[in-house]
């Protein structure tokens, strides 16, 4: 088991290195000079001063040198500082990551509960009204873009019913009620499409297991329905479902870019989006790496859990 985990951890390294390299190449090929963007319309700066600023950020060195230096800093836990605010990124992320993680976790819960419950129900009561309703809800759910869902939510709950604020954010520690009021619509907009995917996937996994021999045998032996479900069907159907939940929730973190923008939440998604526009190299490089790292980490955890549940995978090559 330990060997399996170790091998998976080692496999993460080339992927993350690749992520840093690809990010670096893309970010550095964005046209525009970050120093110029930084100075804005201030035309009084002399070329010498610009050169000095460039030197102070190490931007005068060759690209490979800059890449290696940045990578070296990252490996020692130093993510660098924003060119714009000059604040260290670890500090910036400390403020923004909790917002995005709260949003992602809330969206994950909003997705998982109806997704799993209705998915199982639809499979158990196949061809019933609830099954068809689930199928249709699923199809609509995967087709509605989350920014449009957000637009509809704002229209109904902010403008028509006036229950929730359309934009704004309050930290949970300041005012939990207000925090939830500002977070619920973003979380629903982000989570509902995922609920649809989970519903569909849960339904098919459960159906697939229910058609297998061991379930039929258990039924034939006269084991009560409920026990068949909890002892034989759900544990087996749970493995693929777990994978999808894990990977999808991890990818939600990337989906926060648009949602945070719409609702004005000070999270990582919006931060990196603005950083791209401002050519804030260190921010884009480091934040993308952190997001990719979280994604790879979640896939790793899912893989390990998978192996814990299914011993066959531990020995698979």
């Amino acid at each position: 088991m330990l060997k399996f985990i170790l091998r998976r951890v080692l496999l993460m390294i080339p992927v993350l290195l690749g992520v840093t390299l690809v990010t670096f190449i893309i970010v550095r090929s964005i046209p525009g000079d970050p120093v110029q963007v930084l100075l804005g319309a201030d035309r009084r700066t002399t070329p010498e001063q610009i050169e000095a600023i460039r030197q102070s950020y190490g931007l005068d060195q060759s690209l490979p040198v800059q890449y290696i230096k940045w990578l070296g800093h990252v490996l020692t836990g130093d993510l660098g500082s924003s060119l714009r605010t000059k604040r260290p990124l670890t500090q910036e992320l400390g403020l923004r990551l909790p917002v995005s993680i709260q949003l992602t976790v809330m969206a994950g819960i909003i997705a998982a509960i109806p997704g799993l419950i209705f998915g199982v129900l639809a499979a158990l009561k196949r061809n019933s009204g609830i099954d068809y309703a689930t199928t249709i809800a699923t199809l609509v759910g995967v087709s509605v873009p989350n920014f449009f869902l957000a637009t509809l939510l704002v229209l109904v709950f902010s403008f028509w019913l006036k229950w929730l604020p359309p934009v704004g954010f309050r930290p949970f520690t300041d005012d939990p009620v207000q925090n939830l009021k500002t977070m619920i619509m973003p979380a629903v907009a982000l989570g509902l499409p995922l609920a649809a995917i989970l519903m569909r996937f849960t339904r098919s996994s459960v159906l697939e297991v229910m058609g297998q021999e061991h379930v039929r045998t258990a039924r034939a032996k006269g084991i009560p329905q409920r026990q068949v479900l909890f002892r034989h069907v759900l544990p087996n159907a749970g493995i693929p479902i777990l994978t999808i939940v894990g990977l999808q929730v991890a990818s939600l973190l990337g989906g926060t870019v648009i949602i945070e923008q719409i609702f004005g939440l000070p999270g990582v998604g919006r931060y990196v989006y603005e950083a791209i526009a401002n050519r804030d190299y260190p921010v884009v490089q480091s934040v993308t790496l952190v997001l990719a790292f979280l994604f790879v980490l979640v896939s790793l955890v899912v893989d390990v859990l998978y192996a814990v549940i299914d011993p066959r995978l531990r020995h698979a090559r």
Binding site: V19, V142, F159, F201, S251, V257, I258
Partner: protein
């Protein structure tokens, strides 16, 4: 959320297909419903293609034509879907915008498919280090948040419709590569491929003549589901202001530009939003239906 939903849909689809197999025995109704869904998909996609190709000739007004004093008017006989904040006819803009979505879908899926097919065939056929390198590269692209990668590529390449297609095409290539590689691996060991190898056929000929024709079914299915993803991605990028700049009638930018007048003229955001959702729905349904129709295992 756009991320990976197409891949998941296709992953989930194989399970759905299995479910279909189970349900065929018990419920004729479910089979009928499913066919109905596929038919609905074909109808939506057909309608969309017609609108995208000949729609602009039939549209009541121009895409950027502004009617003075007609700003933010609700749906009426003159303006069926109402007007937006500049007094432009929402229906006409929707019709013109269909062409943008269609174009992006076709070209972005074409780019992903081309990259995916070439790399997936190479990886699946030759295996070994080449497979490792290609798979690693695809895993790297996969680890990025999709929309973020697309935004970064767009910013690097410049803000234009062509670059939207390139960005979406690149971002989506890994999913194609996975589908192709998996299918090639399944065909690679079959007797007809091995006999071609033994007969001394060169690898390019084997790949083109023996392997490719046998992997078209999953490719077509994936292409359809991916079209949905491409339309969704274009809309998302346009919503953020990337790609089509106003006054271009891209559906995503129609939703975002009407967002500021949402309270006064909800129709200006709702109709384009519904158009995006319907189009995506149509291609998803078509993809699902194709999978069931093309997979011979499911027919019996």
């Amino acid at each position: 959320m756009v991320d990976a939903s197409a891949t998941i849909a296709s992953a989930a689809g194989s399970g759905v297909a299995a479910a279909q197999r189970v349900s065929k025995r018990s419920g004729l109704l479910s089979v009928l419903l499913h066919q109905k869904l596929a038919l609905t998909g074909i109808a939506i996609v057909g309608f969309f293609i017609v609108v995208a190709t000949i729609g602009p000739f039939l549209a009541p007004h121009g895409a950027t034509e502004q009617f003075a004093g007609q700003q933010l008017k609700g749906p009426s006989a003159d303006y069926l879907f109402g007007t937006d904040e500049f007094g432009r006819d929402v229906l006409s803009r929707l019709i013109h915008g269909a062409r943008i979505s269609f174009q992006v879908g076709v070209i972005a899926v074409g780019i992903s498919a081309l990259i995916g097919i070439v790399l997936g065939m190479l990886a699946g056929y030759f295996g070994g280090w080449l497979d490792n390198v290609i798979t690693l590269f695809m895993d790297v692209l996969f680890a990025f948040p999709t929309i973020l990668l697309a935004i970064a590529i767009m910013t690097a390449l410049g803000n234009s419709l062509t670059n939207v297609m390139i960005a979406i095409g690149l971002v989506n290539a890994p999913s194609f590569m996975r589908v192709v590689r998996g299918s090639v691996l399944a065909v690679r060991t079959s007797t007809f491929v091995e006999s071609a190898v033994v007969a001394g056929a060169p690898p390019p000929a084997i790949m083109a003549r023996h392997i490719f024709p046998n992997i078209t079914a999953p490719l077509i299915v994936h292409g359809s589901l991916n079209f949905a993803f491409a339309v969704l991605s274009e809309a998302s990028l346009a919503f953020l202001g990337l790609g089509n700049r106003p006054p271009s009638p891209s559906w995503g930018s129609m939703v975002s530009s009407s967002y500021s007048v949402l309270q006064l003229a909800p129709w200006a955001a709702i109709f384009p939003g519904v158009a995006i959702a319907l189009t995506v729905l149509g291609f998803n349904l078509l993809g699902d239906g194709l999978r069931d129709a093309l997979d011979p295992k499911l027919r019996h």
